[in-house]
Symmetry: C2
Subunit: 330 residues, 2 copies
């Protein structure tokens, strides 16, 4: 990373403009990293720095300084710019915006995903970094650039977001040392975490109550599931995206091995979300045409909810039974 | 702290036994600190180290190495021991165990609460420390004692617990630097946070669903409240203590200023929990004979729930209105 960073500092002295791109469905790392880098470059180089994201920025990030700078459309050309693409494993994640970046001579790819395909002219890829925001702080150090309070707030939010408030195993000692330096600039962790993790609309809490009405435990508590449909969502004045994360409540039940959330849309299909502590749910989801990771997976089945629930539960029963037997033998 | 630590190291070389005490209703810092100090002293001095707490250790801390060492009863004398009292602002927090510690000549008080009354012969009180666990790590450094994986896991848990996974404003740069060193010993943050923050019994989630049936928003969304009674708790097979923290769901609603949770017990009284983002709820609780902090308070009213709800809401309406007016004027 060090060598490329030196090259980049030289390039920064020759360009007249910088553009920063980040991915569709932007998360806290995408947004915080983009805003942090914008602020660092503006204050340390005086260059104009533009921000692009192919999506609307969710309202919960409204506390981040400069969040109003993001643009969804790129009218002119960025050919003369130094271009940073942040937190993207490949250019597809920029959707329609990627067209403007084909064969760009000064494209800098800064990312921490293991699936990164090195699409840039310069590729700063560190898969041990917890967040792109962590890498940008290290880059600022190498560049000798000052990171002020506003930039620190953005990078701190990026790191807190991608580590789930330092709960995930991507949190390393280096992550915490960098976060310590950012905190030193005067950040109040409670204000950030309230926005990132704790605040939710009234409708989401009402929707959780509605879903919990169907909460069911099976197989001696090894399987927990619940369900909802579009009628339930409308009753709460909520939107389907507010269901995000509900399946985690099921996984977090003591002694539960598998949590399953069923969402039946009026269109006729049933979305199934799986979370697991040990059973491989990616295998189960793929049996229904879906996929994911061993501990977090999903599928969509074109059938009525009662049929889907029965089919899926039968497969999960078998998987949990098999695991029980393996434990007894092993 | 440094000078007293040096004295203590000398004393450690003269005693034959160490006893560690921590407070009633022990939390993660009390338990993690006690176990961490026990482990550090055992491995570095070879002395026998006993642990006392006047309460049962909650099952969720079962993952901590050595948690089975805690005793609730003290039969012999600890007069000859070096005695540490951890995370206690005063000796009352040891309940009946304090009797054995009157005028003890080698009583070491290690704590971070601002209300600490310096009850020890030696008093290591640092109100800037996020947790007693943080102070013990610093003490080990001064002593030149090795902190192994097991002790690190205990101290890490103590700090994570008292900072709400680094979300509270007691988290300082020094807290994070110390946590970085503990993490370096091989701790998996996800395993700890799952136990400390995320796992809950099935009955607690069912109880949340039951309580959410009464979720109500008032005054244009500024006030959110819900209620439950002993029938609702029994229906879920839950215990009243599982209601702890439910009021936070109300405070965390976007745009809500005050969250209020009502629990009516069969005995006839109604417990009221308040959380606030700005309104002073300690003043409201004290009007009903309770108390607390401006942002978190509570009271118990000897009346039927419908009466209590009406009375309390009227006072909260007035407080929210008053605050609105002040904002318009100011």
């Amino acid at each position: 990373m060090y060598m490329e960073a030196i090259d980049l500092k030289t390039i920064l002295q020759t360009v007249h403009r910088v553009s920063i791109f980040t991915h569709v469905r932007p998360d806290g790392d995408a947004i915080g990293s983009s805003l942090g880098l914008q602020r660092i470059l503006r204050t340390n180089t005086g260059l104009p720095v533009y921000l692009y994201c192919p999506d609307v920025i969710p309202a919960k990030y409204g506390y981040l300084p400069g969040v109003e700078h993001f643009r969804r459309d790129l009218e002119g050309s960025v050919k003369q710019d130094l271009v940073f693409v942040l937190d993207c494993s490949d250019l597809e994640r920029l959707e329609y915006l990627k067209e403007k970046l084909q064969q760009h001579p000064r494209l800098v790819n800064i990312d921490h995903h293991v699936t990164n395909d090195f699409f840039g002219k310069y590729n700063l890829v560190d898969t041990r970094a917890a967040a792109t925001g962590e890498m940008l702080y290290q880059l600022s150090r190498v560049w000798g650039f000052h990171v002020d309070f506003e930039a620190s707030l953005c990078l701190y939010s990026a790191i807190a977001s991608d580590t789930g408030s330092f709960k995930y195993d991507n949190t390393t000692p280096e992550t915490l040392r960098i976060t310590a330096e950012l905190l030193q600039k005067g950040i109040q962790p409670s204000l950030v975490s309230q926005k990132l993790f704790d605040e939710r609309p009234y409708t989401t809490l009402a929707l959780l109550g509605e879903a919990l009405k169907s909460l069911t435990l099976e197989q001696g508590g090894k399987i927990a599931w619940m369900r909802i449909d579009d009628n339930g969502i409308e009753k709460c004045g909520a939107k389907p995206e507010e269901l995000d994360g509900f399946v985690n409540y099921l996984r977090d039940i003591e002694n539960a091995e598998v949590g399953i959330f069923f969402y039946h849309a009026r269109a006729g299909n049933t979305k199934v979300g799986f979370r697991s502590k040990s059973v491989d749910v990616a295998r189960i989801a793929s049996a229904f045409g879906g996929g994911g990771h061993p501990r977090a997976a999903g599928c969509t089945v074109e059938d009525a909810p009662s049929t889907v629930i029965k089919m899926v539960l039968n497969v999960v029963y078998a998987a949990v039974d098999e695991q029980q037997r393996e434990r007894l033998i092993g």
